[in-house]
């Protein structure tokens, strides 16, 4: 039961980080926190229900998170090459 509170708290902290951080890499790290909170939720219920499906789902989420972080960091490196900045509020050139 306490694991669920920890999962919710971690998710909230990650959500707060995504909304407030100016650095794009820091926002990506907060997204990783949210994904790990969901993983903890899955593994807890896998133990609660005595089934292994939660752990398998957690493994798939881990692999997808690795793929997403890779693509996100490639985008950020491209943005840095173009603008020399990765502050989120400075790279909003698409909206005038």
């Amino acid at each position: 039961m306490e694991y669920l509170f920890l999962s919710f708290a971690l998710f909230g902290i990650g959500f707060f980080g995504v909304l407030t951080r100016r650095n794009a890499i820091a926002a990506l790290m907060a997204i990783e926190l949210m994904l790990n909170a969901v993983n903890l939720n899955f593994v807890y219920f896998s133990r609660n229900l005595s089934e292994v499906d939660g752990q398998i789902f957690a493994l798939f989420i881990m692999v997808m998170a690795a793929a997403e972080v890779t693509v996100g960091l490639a985008i950020i490196i491209n943005i840095y090459r173009q603008f020399k900045e990765i502050k989120i509020e400075d790279i909003s050139w698409l909206k005038w």
């Binding site: 039961m1 909230g12 407030t20 890499i25 752990q55 690795a66």
Partner: protein, 157 residues
């Protein structure tokens, strides 16, 4: 007891990740948080997930993030503010969100489930090869696509 120690470490380092000014310190805080979370997976009877958490998250993702920080940061960026002007509204929103979403676990009927021990590694191997064979193959295709895409995106031309 182990849970409370690990949970304290996880929460403190998670708060450090979202509040510190130097983004490299944030990466270190995230590494500590992910390692403690792997310890919590061992506590929950998921040794395979715990080992893969250390290998994939700490061993690959955090190294990648630290490389990206190394390639995109200048030394003069450390004196600027870490948070944008949404600090107070998002903090209030997160408090409300945690209270609202946390009320979903008030019904405690799931606590009466009998917890029987099972061998997770054997079951993971069997389920991955029988029930979850389709996501397993699709994940390998996705990883191939991601690798090709990232190499195309990140090269200098």
């Amino acid at each position: 007891m182990t849970f409370y120690v690990l949970a304290g470490i996880i929460l403190v380092s998670a708060i450090l990740v979202v509040t510190l000014r130097n983004v490299f310190h944030c990466a270190l805080g995230l590494t500590v948080s992910l390692l403690s979370l792997a310890g919590l997976y061992f506590e929950l009877g998921a040794p395979f997930v715990g080992i893969l958490q250390v290998l994939i998250y700490v061993g690959a993702i955090m190294v990648l993030i630290i490389f990206a920080i190394m390639l995109t940061q200048r030394i003069s960026d450390q004196m600027q503010r870490a948070s944008n002007h949404q600090l107070l509204p998002s903090f209030l929103f997160i408090i409300l969100f945690i209270l609202f979403a946390g009320s979903a676990i008030k019904q405690q009927s799931f606590l009466q489930n009998p917890i029987r021990a099972f061998d997770p590694i054997l079951d993971i191997g069997q389920e991955l090869m029988t029930t979850y064979i389709l996501p397993f193959e699709i994940v390998s295709l996705i990883l191939l696509a991601v690798m090709v895409g990232v190499i195309v995106m990140a090269r200098r031309d």
